[in-house]
């Protein structure tokens, strides 16, 4: 269990992390989300005992980063931002070096290194110099190094930045696999990443937690309204929007675009969450012979909207 208590970090006059507290129970994947410079990396650096907080503390299984720093470091596997590794070493040498630093018993070193090479898909590059590897492979070497001592907690700082879509998918599925038995903390500024792998999200902005809840909770707390997107072609006049106002349950209309030549109107209808007006809408449009529905779909408030709303306002919302 990880318990972060009132964590604060000042860099000179700049407060990078401001009184952050959260608790993470055993296992699962937790995303730390925030725009660049929000304090994610600083928070992780303090949790991994790279630097101490200005105030506050972190407990891991009742162990404290001040008193039990070495023990905590033994429990954590950490992939720092940008995945720094010794570029002049070759992959196997590097893994043996990390294994030695991590005090892996002599009789299981060979086995562990081999397991890491298998599970991180490094067979093809074992003998190569790390400096020659592609970014995706380098990231995997970093991940192998973070995992070699089989830590209970895995902290990954932007593990997929700079990778191509295939590599991202691979790393994500690897992380998902790991999340089944370990606590995995992933920091990222990429929203789709959080949606793809995380069970819980902690959104940080300007050093403060602005939201901390499961993915569904965050999304549903923003769903006071439902939203439908329409694309309708009209045979006569293109100005069809006002006619929808009369329908019961419609709260507001929002024009997206209007093409005068082919008389296509694209717009959104917002309606209250409590009643489903979709059948009514459909029947209404069907009655009007001049109209053809080209498209009709429910719009989700995407995490992106939520993220933007939360981090731009910088207010404390949706604290579950």
């Amino acid at each position: 269990m990880i318990k972060v208590q009132n964590l604060t970090k000042d860099y000179g006059h700049l407060r990078a992390v401001d009184n952050i507290s959260f608790t993470i129970p055993k296992s699962g994947i937790i995303g730390i989300l925030g725009p660049n410079g929000a304090g994610k990396t600083t928070t992780l650096k303090m949790m991994t005992c790279f630097m101490p907080p200005t105030e506050g503390t972190v407990f891991i299984d009742e162990k404290n980063i001040y008193q039990n720093s070495v023990e905590i470091r033994k429990m954590i596997g950490y992939l720092p931002e940008g995945c720094p590794i010794y570029t002049e070493m070759n992959v196997v040498d590097f893994l043996y070096f990390i294994a030695e630093l991590r005090d892996i018993p002599k009789d299981s070193v060979n086995r562990r290194v081999k397991e890491m090479i298998d599970s991180c898909g490094l067979e093809e590059v074992v003998g190569k110099e790390i400096g020659e590897l592609s970014k995706g492979y380098r990231q995997r070497v970093g991940l192998a190094a973070a995992l070699i001592h089989d830590p209970e907690i895995l902290i990954l700082d932007e593990p997929t930045s700079g990778l191509d879509p295939n590599q991202i998918a691979e790393i994500r599925s690897l992380i998902k696999q790991l999340g089944k038995e370990k606590t995995v903390l992933v920091s990222t500024h990429i929203l789709s990443e959080v949606e793809a792998i995380c069970e819980r999200v902690i959104i940080i902005d300007r050093g403060k937690i602005v939201a901390d809840a499961s993915l569904e909770e965050i999304q549903s707390s923003f769903h006071n309204q439902n939203r439908i997107y329409f694309e309708i072609q009209s045979k006569k006049d293109a100005d069809i929007l006002p006619e929808f106002e009369a329908i019961k349950g419609v709260e507001s209309l929002q024009l997206f675009s209007k093409h005068e030549e082919d008389m296509i109107t694209k717009f959104f209808i917002n309606y209250s969450k409590d009643m489903d007006i979709r059948p009514e809408l459909y029947n209404f449009i069907k009655k009007n012979k001049d109209w053809t529905i080209l498209e009709m779909r429910t719009e989700q408030h995407s995490l992106e909207d939520i993220f933007r709303q939360l981090t731009e306002k910088g207010e404390e919302v949706a604290h579950a």
Partner: protein
Amino acid sequence: MHNIITIAKREIKSYFFTPVAYILMTIFLLITGWFFGSELFLVNEATMRNIFALTPLIFIFFIPAVTMRSISEEKRSGTIELICTSPVKDSEIVLGKFFAAFSLLVATIFSTIIYVIILLILGKPDGGVIVAGYIGLLFMGSAYASIGIFASTISKNQIVSFIVSFFIIMVLYLLDKFMYFIPTWLGSILQYISVDYHFQNIARGVIDSRDIIYYLSLIFVFLFFAWNSLTKRKYLST
């Protein structure tokens, strides 16, 4: 201890993976070889005196060049985060780096043993002075190395590290070279602080505990500074 060895081993390997070690050792042997040869063949003397007089000067360049990257490169590339978040103490990192530089130093110094062999074949050199000279070189070189390690902790930039360690060593070396211009009471203090003075004592063949203690305390002080500067990241921004 285990961690110190692990870090030192990796560092030594990286000296030899990059051309640093080869270039420095070659240059060192070229310079000393020229002076050795000229003394032996032109002056016809079977001594290492010239080499022992010259090496402290060469080391002023040589050792900062060896140590300049040791920690600053880790800081620049971010690998410092990798080793500082593994269960390794900061003091172990500093000592590991120091022993790596020390090993390269030993290898370099003892590559000149070939000169001693030549002397033994061609003449009758004074064995005691030569052994003392080597001991002196080891102590002095280690002291320089500890200064170099300290300098490499203060910046991400290798050039800065080089210049800082070069400067500190240069000052310590030159301290007893201005004896004529200063009052005697100050002179004896400066002389005691100067690295070269103690080396010349040892190189004469007199191994005095004062000189050994001087070098050991210099090594200790600068390694302590290095440790202190490395843990600074914990109190200041990096």
